[in-house]
């Protein structure tokens, strides 16, 4: 099914979030967040430090438990799921790309082993096939094939990030969480990574939730945008609409603060 067909055919959201709230004692992590995410959509969540976007992401990905609200994945209540189920989801349907690739990779395992791990975790038992798939994916993220046996500690930051992406996407997940995936990378490397991500999103029909403070990244990657401030969603809509015709005071401030190069 093409991406377009996928997007139009489904009336069922892939992820349905209602009233998600997380507090840290008296402080608000995120408050009353609601949205739907459909297959093939990229949702950007922007905000400055302390906006609650990282809290929201970690609650959605199951790294933290929200205090209130509901999350339904493919119609299934996430918060009622057993940990086994949630962890299995995390290995198959879901993926999480960390800001620092070292958090998302096994530094002591070769690149091929890193990519192959998810396959082995779901039962792949043929060495030749696993290696073949790993090699294929290294090619897709533009890492030279002869580095398949090298450890990530020998890679540059950009390569490590691309390896992390390969490692996450090898089992064709449906939902990918990304936490500042281009943070800490050189500008030219960022461009390359964004281009790669766009292609993968389109070819694989991925749904992505990407958290970032960089408006240029969301403009290029995200279909829809949510702006957060002090734990609350202050505005959401089409990315280009929110950035070109911001309605909320904070969004207007954010947009006008971006340096034009």
């Amino acid at each position: 099914m093409t991406l377009m067909e996928k997007m139009v055919a489904t009336d069922q959201p892939l992820l349905k979030v209602e009233g998600l709230t997380k507090r840290y004692g008296p402080r608000i992590g995120c408050l009353d967040v609601s949205f739907d995410l459909y297959p093939g959509e990229v949702l950007g969540i922007v905000g400055e430090s302390g906006s609650g976007k990282s809290t929201l992401l970690s609650c959605l990905a199951g790294h933290q438990r929200a205090d209130l609200g509901r999350i339904a994945y493919d119609g299934r209540d996430l918060l009622a799921m057993s940990e086994t189920e949630r962890r299995r989801l995390g290995r198959t349907d879901w993926a999480y790309v960390h800001q620092n690739p070292r958090d998302g990779l096994r530094m002591g395992v070769s690149a091929g082993g890193n990519v192959g791990e998810r396959l082995m975790a779901v039962g792949a038992r043929h060495y030749g096939e696993i290696r073949g798939k790993a090699a294929d994916w290294l090619g897709r993220v533009e890492i030279a094939g002869d580095r398949i046996d090298d450890r990530p500690s020998a890679f540059s930051g950009g390569m490590q990030q691309r390896l992390q992406i390969a490692r996450n996407l090898v089992t064709s997940p449906r939902l990918v969480f990304m936490d500042e995936p281009t943070g800490g990378l050189d500008v030219s490397v960022q461009a390359r990574l964004l281009d790669l991500l766009r292609g993968l999103v389109r070819d694989m029909g991925l749904s992505v939730i990407i958290v970032t403070h960089d408006l240029a990244v969301v403009r290029l990657l995200a279909h829809r945008l949510m702006v957060m401030k002090d734990g609350r969603v202050v505005e959401q809509g089409l990315t280009d609409q929110v950035l070109d015709d911001p309605q909320h005071a904070y969004t207007q401030l954010l947009v006008s603060s971006v340096l034009q190069v």
Partner: protein, 227 residues
């Protein structure tokens, strides 16, 4: 194909004393399949604003914008995305691209997004680039380094890659020489012939005269300025 009724818009600048700037009121127009409507009016009168509202880039305060069966003014984001993918095309004044992508792929993108097989999409892209006189040696380069005129032609090629039933053209012939202007106007005529509904902004009177069936002056939609 495109039907606008009672459309109004204002901007509220929260960070500048919450100034409210009304920019449009009671706008209405219809574009039928096979027609090209030209928007006229002075600079700043609201031509681009209206076009952006049809595209969904600007929000409407009141009114409706029907493109086919979808009311852009009230549609959910994913509906607008779907609309932009197969029904509504937009050639803006500026080319916005991801830095590294080769020109051929930039032009092929709308077709790839629709699921057209890559070789086919690229063939069509090559076809258009050739007609628009972009030399083949440039096709594998990113258009970010091209001249203004070349970028505009890449933009146009991308806009015409897929046969959109509805098309928005913002100054498509600006910064083009006579030969290329001719190509663009021919493209527009071909689109009309296959039944596309086109809404365009043309500063060039000659171009306007050639392709537009009707003209709509947006000055009529500008609210009377507050005292």
């Amino acid at each position: 194909m495109i039907r606008i009724e009672s459309l109004s818009k204002s901007f509220t600048l929260h960070n500048q004393g919450s100034t409210v700037i009304p920019v449009m009121a009671g706008a209405a127009l219809t574009v039928n399949p096979g027609e090209c409507i030209g928007l006229t009016g002075q600079s700043g009168a609201g031509k681009s604003t209206l076009m952006r509202m049809v595209w969904g880039n600007y929000l409407a305060a009141e009114g409706s914008i029907l493109v086919g069966e979808t009311d852009v003014a009230t549609a959910a984001p994913r509906q607008i995305i779907a609309l932009r993918r197969d029904t509504l095309g937009y050639v803006s004044q500026f080319l916005r691209v991801v830095p590294r992508v080769p020109t051929l792929d930039v032009v092929a993108e709308p077709l790839l997004a629709l699921g057209t097989p890559a070789p086919q999409a690229r063939d069509r892209a090559a076809d258009l680039l050739q007609r628009l006189n972009i030399p083949e040696r440039l096709w594998s380069l990113s258009p970010t380094t091209f001249s203004g005129g070349e970028q505009q032609r890449v933009n146009i090629a991308r806009g015409f890659a897929h046969a959109y039933p509805a098309l928005l053209l913002d100054e498509p012939t600006a910064s083009l020489d006579a030969a290329n202007r001719e190509v663009v106007l021919t493209l527009i005529e071909e689109a009309k012939a296959r039944g596309a509904a086109i809404l365009g902004i043309f500063h060039d009177e000659g171009a306007r005269g050639r392709v537009c069936d009707r003209l709509v002056d947006v000055t009529g939609f500008t609210p009377k300025a507050a005292a």
